[in-house]
Amino acid sequence: MPHLELADVSATYGAHRVLDGVSLALERGEIMGLIGPSGSGKSTILRVLVGLLKPTAGEVRIDGKAIDYGRAVDVASARDRCAIVFQQYNLFQNMTALDNVTIAPIKIKKRPRGDAVAEASALLAKVGLGNKLASYPDELSGGQQQRVAIARALALKPEILLLDEVTAALDPELVSEVLDSIRVLAHEGMTMLVVSHEMGFIREVASRVAFIADGRIIEMGTPAQIFDAPREQRTAEFVSKILRH
């Protein structure tokens, strides 16, 4: 049984259809890369998975159990199991790095403060920010903020990590520090859905890659197949453009 499964999922923003019958499945511990042009629906898939957008059709299943988006308890359960790292970090601006990481474990998951702080400190150290616990988001570089966001997502102890173009808003020299943090997680066997334009990174960490355009999965396969021998014309054009760039 797949760990995470989308079956014929469609979604709209107002009258605009952004996902059109998307189906994919991830086994436990699998890392899948989602690639495609801007506006193709990659990030929307992640937003659907954490209940920020309700699908208009299809089903999302975690461990075979379908999420009923009309039931708050189902959405809460999905959010409990999936954590998302946003492209723009979305750190709480009124909190320090440590508070950003501990707020949900303490206030939402009701973990003891001492445990949450110790765990958050360890997570921040793991992403190389052990000396930035008391820094506010606007005192951190983009790369540092993104790593705090990763630590914040991990503090929720998710089964599935969703990464939404986590390096897109970063200066090139900051990209590697974020990718290094994700590599560590990849080696730990976490199920991950990774939206990225970093083709080298996707090729390195993902076991499968899905190319998405116009809200549909055009092609899915191993990184070698998608990047070196795409079957679809649109995939080939996109990959060649990105690799040339």
Binding site: V50, G51, I84, F86, Q88, N90, Q93, N94, M95
Partner: protein, 229 residues
Amino acid sequence: MWQRFAAELPEFFGYYNLIFLAKAALTTIALSAIGALTGSVVGFAAAVVRMTRAPLLAPLRWLTVLLIEIFRRIPFLVTLMLVFFVFQLSGFDLSMFTVALVAVFLIASSYLAEIIRAGFDSVHRNQWDAAAAMNFSLPATIRYVVLPQAWRVILPPAFGFFILFIKNTALASQIGVIELTYAGKVLNNKGFSAALVFGTLLIIYFLISYPLALSGARLEKRLAASRTR
């Protein structure tokens, strides 16, 4: 003129007049304070209701928006008269102070609801999204994430409104509430010169509103310097 002033002063500041003015000032302060406090609480609740998305709460949302839009658009005096006549027609035997209190409460709630909503809206959408994705409920999102960031946007217009509000309570004199302006009219009708009477009122209104303006400015400064958590 100064001679007349000097001659009036001892009688004007006589014991009974001072008690009369003090009671009127207390009425003004009570109207303003109770109106502002209840208005803040209900205005906050109304702003929160407007942020909800649950279909079940839709009728409550529409009613809230309707009331806010109505009472923000009609003058205070009209609201006062409306409340006065509604109570009169419904046969409730309420004091004029209570009628004025209901009117100031309606006005304060609707204005503060909008000020607080604007503060909520000033917090970037991505902060709401991040909180929702981490399973924060709406109250938890507002308490831990939105309000600490929205205070800086809410406080300046809120304090501006409170000061305007103190002045607006003068209209309660129209239905016979003995607040400061009413007391001024009574003393003026007793024969004291308008300059002395209303000059005194000016000072009392200033003494009531200036500390409020000062504490507002101090609070804004404190929030700007330290990050509220």
